[in-house]
């Protein structure tokens, strides 16, 4: 399966990265990591790339890594549809002090607009 993981640096996106890479090691999924500019996090994209490489190296998985500039949700959906991905993978939301799950704006956009199936990682 050809997977496109979107990561913008939030905690849930880091968890989605770790889980997807571990899964790719077991399943031979063809994984691409797209580094997004998430307005909610302000994490430096170069820092995210370092993190991505570290996880890939640790698990021993190879994946293409690319940076998407501009609006994160629409760029991710566009890439997935244009290049024939089977699935988009995203973090499944942040948890409030109360334990309530709150979906991020990128996940919300992708869920509502993507024609490619979407997996949210919990």
């Amino acid at each position: 399966m050809k997977l496109l993981l979107g990561i913008g640096g939030s905690d849930d996106s880091i968890r989605a990265l770790e889980r997807s890479v571990e899964r790719a090691a077991e399943t031979d999924d063809d994984l691409t990591v797209a580094i997004l500019q998430n307005p909610a996090t302000e994490v430096d994209p170069a820092e995210i790339e370092t993190r991505v490489q570290a996880v890939l190296d640790e698990v021993g998985v190879e994946a293409a890594v690319q940076h998407l500039d501009g609006d994160p949700g629409s760029r991710l959906v566009d890439l997935a549809e244009r290049e024939g991905y089977d699935r988009i993978v995203l973090g499944g939301g942040e948890t409030s002090p109360m334990g309530k799950i709150k979906l991020g704006s990128i996940a919300e956009f992708v869920l509502l607009n993507s024609h490619v199936s979407v997996t949210l990682v919990r």
């Binding site: 409030s96 002090p97 109360m98 334990g99 309530k100 709150k102 704006s105």
Partner: protein, 178 residues
């Protein structure tokens, strides 16, 4: 949500401090009092074990005994404020404030299905806010699914105002003190 500008300028209230007792619309005597870990923990777990999963929102209450216990440990921990609504010996409602930054708390409230629509939510909410004021909380926020109009109407009735209506969930805020 710690941005002070998202809260109303003027404090709401005054709110009653627990314990309070009212008769609900079905003539049942309902007492709202402070949660006592030793006395109430089992009854509170029983309430969530009986809770209709169709009334869950944004992942809470969780399902399964172990997840419920973990979640209750968190939301009844130090610095939190919890009140329970009781009918005879049963806990039939629960409301909680969980700290989220300086003098700020996130609120949630749950009423068991057989006790909904009887005015218990208002009573529980007002008494929780009274306990929150007494504990020194100045700002309280919550999120609610935006299609849940009865809940939004209840929150507005006690003084919450919308603070973020852009996202999937509707966020509301109230000020308890300057």
């Amino acid at each position: 949500m710690t941005d002070d500008g998202a809260y109303p300028d003027d404090p709401a209230g005054p709110f009653p401090e627990p314990p309070t007792t009212v008769e609900d619309r079905n003539d049942r005597p309902i007492t709202v009092r402070r949660y006592d870990e030793t006395l109430d923990r089992d009854a509170l777990e029983a309430m969530y074990a009986a809770f209709d999963p169709a009334d869950r929102a944004q992942g809470i209450p969780p399902t399964g005994d172990e997840r419920i216990a973990d979640w209750l440990d968190t939301i009844t921990g130090s610095e939190t404020v919890n009140v329970v609504a009781t009918h005879d010996d049963a806990v039939v409602g629960h409301a909680t404030l969980v700290p989220d930054g300086e003098a700020t708390a996130e609120l949630a409230i749950f009423v068991l299905q057989d006790y909904q629509g009887a005015g218990i939510g208002t009573h529980l909410l007002e008494t929780l806010l009274g306990a929150g004021q007494a504990a020194g909380f100045e700002r309280v926020w919550l999120s609610v699914e935006r299609w849940n109009e009865p809940a939004i109407a209840l929150y507005e009735k006690v003084g919450f105002v919308p603070s973020d209506t852009e996202s999937f969930e509707h966020e509301m805020a109230i000020r308890l003190a300057e």
